[in-house]
Every structure is written in structure tokens, then in C-alpha cells.
């Protein structure tokens, strides 16, 4: 009971419970779920989707939305692939430039939002169109195929047991974000701005700078996600990022993020991604009528979030006591 009331209140506890429960259920029904190869596949999906979720999470933290995460990711991905194919650029500089493009995209978002005071929703929607348009303009909807073999290898191979290489950048970013949001003043400023913008301003926090930093980070992380996905797909697809939006919000929200800002959790968001990945996988493993997949997906999401909620209902009386 002590344990429950101590950890039960943290954001990650519920999602963790759901994750374990889901893994047990899926694993017992389909033993191959826990095979090394399958875990690797799961981790690959998590590695990329977690970055997508982080890049939105940091914007949710300041109480805004970034609709352009997918467009930035896609632009970075095709830039990365394009620079390697067309200009024969070495991998590392290409990747860095790709991230830089994302960073720049984010900074542009942030600067316009904080200078004009127009809602982030509108600005990032416009920039979504712009970034996506540049992507299409460059590629004319044709993929880049010239991905070096090393990148293809890194995008899919494990380095230790079932752990894929791709998990490394994600883990670093995740840890960095956690450190930033819990230990570094800049992270705390981001949360303060999301928690009560007015109060933060009165406390001498520069709203402009904080907003720009958050958007810059978001852009860079989205770009990293795009580059990793490009490595994983072994193609610079112009459609990369088109379907990120919903997931980018869903994972943080499943992880208890407050959409009005001020409260996000890196751990719980990661678990949110894991939950979605397990559910997606379960749908494939169980040979469900393809026409029913969406229904089951919806029900499972509700189930996952519902369990997360139950814990709160149970804990309320405890808190009073």
C-alpha cells in the first residue's frame, strides 16, 4: 500500500502497469512476441516514434502545439538522403545538416510565434504547408534511393542482443530531455511558461526566448526522427512524416501530459509510445479482419488509458486520508 501511494502518483506508474499488462497478455497469447527479433522490431518502432512524441511533447510543455513536426521530419529526411545521393556528402555531415535544417525550421516557427503573438497552431500550420511544399518541390514526390549501406545497416541492425543501433540516439535524447526538464533551469523555465505564462513572465523568465528554445528543440528532434526513419526505411521517402501528427500527440497524452501545458513526463511519454507499439503489433499478430483493425485499435487505446485512469480513482481516497 505504501508502495502504491508512493509511486502510484507518478506519471509513469500507470503507463508502466499498462505496458507490463499488455506485454503479458500479448506474450501469453502469442509466444513469438517475446522473441529477440520481435523485441528488436518493437524497439525500432519505439526508437523513431519516441522521438516524434518528444518533439511534440516539448511544445505541449509550453502549452502550445506544433503541427509541423511531420513536415520538418520529412524535410530533414529527404535533405539527408538527397545530400548523400545528389551531392555524395558523407553520412555524418549530411545527418548534421539534416538536423540543422530541422533546428532552423523550429527556430523559424518559434521566432514568428514569439514575435507576433499569433497562436502557434496557425503559424505551425502555415509552416507545415511550407516545409511540406519545399519537400515536394525538391523531390517531385520521387524518393531518393541513394542511401549508403552503412546507413541502411545502422537503421536496422542490432548492436547488442535485440538492441538496435537506432535506440542509441533516442535514448540519448530521452535522457537529455529528462535531465533538462527536471534538472536544468531552461527545462524548468519551459514548464513554468506552460504552467502559468503570466507568472513566469512576472518572475523574469523571458517568454520569447523560452518559446524559441522549445520550438528549436522540437524541430531538431523531429529532424532526428526523420533521419532515423530514413535510415530505417532505406529510402528517402517524401511521405515521411505525413502520418506523425496524431501519434505525436497521443503518446504524450497517454503519458499524462496536460495539453494546456506545464506538465509532461519523458518516461511516461516513452511508455505511451511503447503501449501504442504493442497495440499495433498485437493487431498484426492476432490475424484480425483487416476491416476491424481500426475498431480494435480504438478500443485498445481506450482500454490502455482507462486502466491508467482507474489508478487515479483508487488513489483519490488515499490522498485524502
Amino acid at each position: 500500500m505504501q508502495f502504491l501511494s508512493r509511486y502510484g502518483r507518478t506519471d509513469w506508474f500507470g503507463p508502466l502497469l499498462v505496458t507490463i499488462l499488455a506485454a503479458i497478455i500479448v506474450g501469453s497469447l502469442s509466444p513469438s512476441f517475446l522473441s529477440a527479433f520481435n523485441i528488436q522490431v518493437l524497439l525500432l518502432a519505439v526508437a523513431i516514434n519516441a522521438l516524434v512524441a518528444y518533439s511534440q511533447m516539448i511544445i505541449i510543455a509550453i502549452g502550445e502545439m506544433n503541427l509541423s513536426v511531420g513536415a520538418i521530419g520529412g524535410l530533414a529526411a529527404i535533405s539527408f538522403a538527397g545530400m548523400m545521393q545528389v551531392w555524395h556528402m558523407p553520412i555524418l555531415p549530411a545527418a548534421l545538416l539534416g538536423i540543422l535544417i530541422g533546428l532552423l525550421g523550429g527556430i523559424i516557427n518559434g521566432v514568428i510565434i514569439s514575435l507576433t503573438g499569433i497562436s502557434a497552431f496557425v503559424i505551425t500550420l502555415a509552416s507545415l504547408s511550407i516545409y511540406k511544399g519545399i519537400n515536394l518541390g525538391i523531390t517531385e514526390a520521387q524518393p531518393f534511393y541513394g542511401i549508403p549501406n552503412l546507413v541502411k545497416h545502422l537503421g536496422n541492425a542490432p548492436f547488442l542482443g535485440p538492441l538496435p543501433w537506432l535506440i542509441i540516439p533516442t535514448a540519448i535524447v530521452g535522457f537529455g530531455l529528462w535531465l533538462m526538464l527536471t534538472r536544468l533551469p531552461i527545462g524548468r523555465c519551459i514548464l513554468a511558461v506552460g504552467g502559468n505564462r503570466h507568472a513566469a513572465e512576472l518572475s523574469g523568465i523571458s517568454i520569447r526566448l523560452t518559446v524559441i528554445v522549445a520550438h528549436a528543440l522540437s524541430g531538431a528532434i523531429a529532424a532526428l526522427a526523420g533521419i532515423l526513419l530514413c535510415a530505417r526505411l532505406q529510402i528517402g521517402q517524401p511521405t515521411i512524416g505525413d502520418d506523425w501528427l496524431i501519434l505525436s500527440f497521443a503518446a504524450p497524452v497517454i503519458g499524462g501530459a496536460v495539453l494546456t501545458g506545464g506538465h509532461v513526463s519523458v518516461g511516461a511519454t516513452t511508455l505511451g509510445v511503447v503501449i501504442v507499439a504493442i497495440i499495433t503489433e498485437a493487431l498484426v499478430l492476432f490475424n484480425i479482419d483487416p476491416f476491424l483493425v481500426q475498431v480494435v485499435l480504438g478500443v485498445l487505446i481506450l482500454w490502455a488509458v482507462g486502466i491508467n485512469r482507474l489508478r487515479e480513482f483508487r488513489l483519490k481516497p488515499l490522498r485524502r486520508a
Partner: protein, 359 residues
């Protein structure tokens, strides 16, 4: 930062009220001068949008000779009408500080329901339309009920319900369309009044007027705004917040149904793909109209006229750009740029007025 609140008529104080004597000093300050009122009007979103529509309309007329052709105006109005109603469907939930990702899914379900009633059940189309709308409202009720009962954010509830509604629809229909749509119904999308006005646009305007009536002249509408602005305060003032939120979602479902049925008329068929995978194609127009129109995503403030103008502006930009014949794949980038220019212009207008201290 805040948009102007409800456009409330200014009070004019009777000079012989019981407390007037002691109020003399503040009396003068209680009524804003006509100039302040005029400036306040110039500062509104709606005024800005009208300006932008005029500017861009003029630019397109100048740049594209056929922009003002009857055919193009008709197309423009009809497409705008769809976007406007989709925007309304989202707007009425955004009022509560929530959102409804499932508008598209509900719209398609209502359309398919209506199509089924027309083709398979063979009902006369007015009944089938009512049936489709009721289905939309019912699905909206499910959303609202789930949001209120679970206490979860509507984002997560409608994310799941989007999947469920759409999935059930696809499962039942096997993605097959209903295309025996009575001509008398479908013709609504094809008739042209005076050669260029679509009845659908008129319908959108009527819906806007109804929404204005709701939010300004009924207790329910005012309660929706109050509940959206601050639920705890509204609750303590006697608003049944939960019931009101359910009603908002039902209204969203109903309006999504209207938009869905408009598309049925437009396509002469009820087709599952009309709003894309899971109905997601509607999401951007659904949000963009209200947000451009000044509706706050955090809830509590709404502008039906703004939504109408915002959606119209969006449609206008898209239409004009397509006519401008920009390099194939660059249209989207230019659309984004134009949108950015539009909102920046609007912002500049506001700070210009504010800087000139016209207030």
C-alpha cells in the same frame, strides 16, 4: 492577447436611476464613446478577415482573368460551404476547451447512414437526411458522454472514437459506396442561383446565423461559453457543465453530419473515402476556420462569423493559387507562405491601429 469578448451592446445609463446620484463620477466612464466602439470594431478578427478576403480577392481577380467567372465563383462558394460547416463542427466543441478529432469519422458515418437509408432502406431523402443527422448527433453523444464520464481529455476519447466509428463503418459497408442518391437531393450541390451561388453556401450562412443566435441569445449557448471558459466557476453558478459538454459534442456530431451530407450531394454518392483515412482529411479545415476566425482553442470564446470568414479565406487562397498555375509541386509551399503572409498582415493591421493609439 485576448480577443474581444462577446460583442455586447454598450450600456446606456438612465440618468434618473436610484443610485445615479452617487454614480455621477463614473457615469461618464461607463459608456464607451462611439469612437472607441468604432475602433474596437476595426480591431476585430472579423473585420481583418473581410479585409484580407477583399485584398486577396482583388489580387486574384487581377492576376487570373477567369477568377470571377460564374463557374469559378460557384465552385468557390460550394467548396467554402463544406469547409465552413466542417469548421463549425469543430468550433462548437472547441468552445468547451476540448476538441473533436472524430468530426471526419462522424461526418462519413452520418453520410453513409444517410446513403444507406436512401439506397437500401429506400426512404424519401428528407427522412434519410434526418436519419443521417440523428446518427451524427448520436455519435457525438457517445463522445460527449465518454468525455464527461471518464474525465479524460476529449483529445484521447475522440482519438479512440475516430478509430472505432470509422472502423465499424468500414466493416459494415466493406468500403462500398451508396450511389442511388435521389436527384432532388443531389441537385442541391449542383444548382446555381443567379449562375454562381450554391445553395450549400446559403445553408452555411443559415447555420452561422443559427449559431450566432445560440451563442448570443439563448441561455444554453451562453452556458456553453461559460462552461468552456471556466468549468468550475460555471458549475458553481448553476450551469450543468457535464450536460452542456455532452450537448456541445452532440451539436458537433450533428454539424459533422450536415457536412457529410453536403458531400454526399456534392459527390452524388455516399463514399467512405470522402474524408480520407479515418476522416482525417477534415481535421485541418476543421481547425483552421475557427482558429483564423478568432475562436480560442482554450475554450470560452467563439465567433461563428469569424469561422465562416476564416474558412472562406482559406478556400479562396487555395482556389486562387490553383488558378495561378504555380509550378506543380510548389503549390503547397506557396499556400503556406500566403497563409503566413495573411496572418502577419492581420497582426500588422492590429498593431498599427494600437500604435496609432486610435483607441
Amino acid at each position: 492577447m485576448h480577443p474581444p469578448s462577446l460583442q455586447i451592446m454598450d450600456i446606456s445609463m438612465p440618468s434618473d436611476g436610484p443610485a445615479a446620484a452617487s454614480l455621477d463620477a463614473s457615469d461618464t466612464t461607463l459608456t464607451p464613446s462611439p469612437r472607441v466602439r468604432r475602433v474596437r470594431f476595426y480591431l476585430t478578427n472579423e473585420f481583418g478577415l473581410v479585409l484580407l478576403i477583399i485584398i486577396f480577392g482583388a489580387a486574384f481577380t487581377f492576376a487570373v482573368p477567369r477568377f470571377l467567372s460564374h463557374f469559378n465563383l460557384f465552385i468557390l462558394g460550394r467548396t467554402a460551404a463544406e469547409n465552413i460547416v466542417i469548421g463549425f463542427a469543430m468550433m462548437v466543441v472547441v468552445v468547451t476547451g476540448g476538441l473533436d478529432l472524430s468530426v471526419g469519422a462522424i461526418g462519413v458515418c452520418a453520410a453513409m447512414g444517410g446513403g444507406w437509408l436512401m439506397q437500401v432502406a429506400g426512404l424519401p431523402w428528407p427522412l434519410a437526411v434526418i436519419g443521417g443527422l440523428l446518427l451524427g448527433a448520436a455519435l457525438g453523444f457517445v463522445n460527449g458522454w465518454a468525455v464527461v464520464r471518464s474525465g479524460l481529455h476529449s483529445f484521447i476519447i475522440t482519438l479512440a472514437s475516430m478509430s472505432i466509428f470509422f472502423g465499424v463503418m468500414i466493416f459494415i459497408t466493406r468500403a462500398q459506396a451508396f450511389r442511388s442518391i435521389p436527384l432532388s437531393f443531389a441537385s442541391f450541390a449542383h444548382i446555381r442561383y443567379f449562375g454562381f451561388i450554391s445553395p450549400l453556401l446559403l445553408l452555411a450562412v443559415v447555420i452561422m446565423l443559427a449559431l450566432v443566435y445560440l451563442y448570443r441569445l439563448t441561455a444554453l449557448g451562453r452556458e456553453m461559453l461559460a462552461a468552456g471558459a471556466r468549468a468550475s466557476a460555471a458549475e458553481l453558478s448553476g450551469v450543468r457543465v457535464k450536460r452542456v459538454i455532452i450537448l456541445c459534442h452532440m451539436l458537433a456530431g450533428l454539424l459533422a453530419g450536415v457536412a457529410g451530407l453536403m458531400l454526399v450531394a456534392r459527390n452524388d454518392a455516399a463514399i467512405p473515402s470522402m474524408a480520407g483515412q479515418l476522416g482525417q482529411d477534415w481535421l485541418l479545415p476543421a481547425f483552421l476556420g475557427p482558429v483564423l476566425g478568432g475562436t480560442l482553442l482554450s475554450g470560452g470564446f467563439v465567433s461563428p462569423l469569424g469561422t465562416l470568414l476564416g474558412s472562406f479565406l482559406l478556400t479562396l487562397l487555395t482556389n486562387g493559387l490553383l488558378l495561378l498555375q504555380i509550378g506543380q509541386f510548389w503549390v503547397e509551399a506557396v499556400l503556406g507562405l500566403l497563409l503566413l503572409v495573411a496572418v502577419l498582415l492581420d497582426q500588422a493591421r492590429r498593431s498599427f491601429i494600437a500604435r496609432r493609439r486610435m483607441i
